[in-house]
């Protein structure tokens, strides 16, 4: 029994920072090697813990951005100006540094190819991170599941993973952007907040019973989930994840 209890324990471990990649002005991706990493499902999180010299500790939960790949994981971090943890992660960490984390955690907001489709992903801002893990997993598995991403950003420069999403689109993956504050010249995509008409355009229809994942700031998540229910989607098939300032 004692051994069984230990297996279920969630233990802190030290990850090695392999690389720090700039995604845009406020967002960076940390590539980490976690020696004891047991593998993860896309949509799961890790808890990151920072300890100050005086012993003060701050913990935050971050979605894993990468598909499962051995002991390597990637976290994409948006730097919040008054955050306790994110400024350190995005501005101070360098390759070769260590970072304390535990995980993976969470089983509610997860997708794996065996779950099938169709799949509707709706993301706002850095809420795209766990959705990107699902898109990457689909690509890595060679899956042809019908997957559609509706991604709301303030401007084209704020779009995270922009080039990679462009490369992966096609072969059953649809990527639709909406830019809510400013749009580049000649923009012919959506230019407003996610609404019923947009969700109907992007689909899949509620009758196709898609698995739906919505991740972003609380107002976006609440509005999108309510609209999807109005459009006839089953509440149990709509998984939501809210990003709040305490994610900082």
């Amino acid at each position: 029994m004692e051994g069984a209890a230990l297996l279920g324990r969630l233990t802190w471990q030290l990850a090695d920072v392999l690389d720090v990649v700039v995604e845009n002005a406020r967002v960076k991706t940390l590539a980490l090697d976690v020696p004891e990493w047991p593998g993860h499902k896309t949509g799961q999180h890790v808890d990151v813990r920072l300890t100050a010299e005086d012993g003060y500790r701050a913990e935050r939960s971050y979605s894993i951005a990468s598909a499962p790949s051995g002991t390597r994981i990637e976290l994409t971090v948006e730097c919040l100006e008054d955050g306790e943890v994110s400024p350190y992660l995005s501005d101070e960490l360098r390759p070769g540094d260590k970072l304390e984390l535990r995980g993976p955690v969470g089983g509610y907001f997860v997708w794996e190819p065996a779950l099938g489709g169709p799949v509707l992903l709706v993301g706002g801002g850095s809420g795209v991170v766990p959705l990107m893990a699902m898109i990457r997993e689909r690509a890595a598995a060679g899956s042809d599941v019908d997957m559609r991403l509706l991604y709301s950003s303030r401007s084209w420069d704020d779009v995270i993973y922009r080039d990679e999403l462009g490369r992966l689109a096609g072969r059953g993956l649809t990527v639709a952007h909406t830019l809510t504050r400013s749009q580049p010249d000649g923009w012919n995509g959506y230019a407003r907040r996610v609404d019923a008409e947009m969700l109907t355009d992007v689909g899949p229809a509620s009758g196709d019973r898609p698995h739906v994942y919505v991740c972003g700031p609380t107002p976006l998540v609440e509005a999108v989930a309510a609209t999807l229910v109005e459009l006839g989607h089953e509440p149990q098939r709509i998984k939501t994840e809210r990003f709040g300032p305490t994610g900082g």
């Binding site: 279920g8 999180h45 890790v46 939960s61 509610y108 907001f109 609380t218 998984k239 709040g244």
Partner: protein, 89 residues
């Protein structure tokens, strides 16, 4: 809706620590309105501790305060909590 609201996903690690297993897929039943749902979907507020509230009626389902060596857990707002205790890897 308060923009500070998170959901059960954000405290998956803390819940795992307290219960010894993955809890966001556990099913909780609200002791006030009787709604049942997965813990990943309940509303979470963080201050000195963590407060889980029913996403339907707002009833406080659980309060968790963790200090260095102990955790104080109040589950009096739940009439039920069903979960699988995974003992293997």
């Amino acid at each position: 809706m308060d923009a500070l609201t998170l959901d059960g996903n954000a405290v998956a690690g803390l819940l795992h620590e307290v219960f010894g297993t993955e809890m966001t897929v556990a099913t909780g039943t609200c002791g006030s309105c009787g709604a049942s749902g997965q813990i990943g979907a309940v509303h979470v507020f963080r201050s000195a501790g963590v407060v889980l509230r029913c996403s339907w009626c707002g009833n406080v389902l659980a309060k968790i305060v963790r200090q260095e060596m102990q955790a104080c857990v109040d589950l009096s707002g739940l009439s039920g909590l069903a979960y699988v205790h995974h003992t293997g890897a």
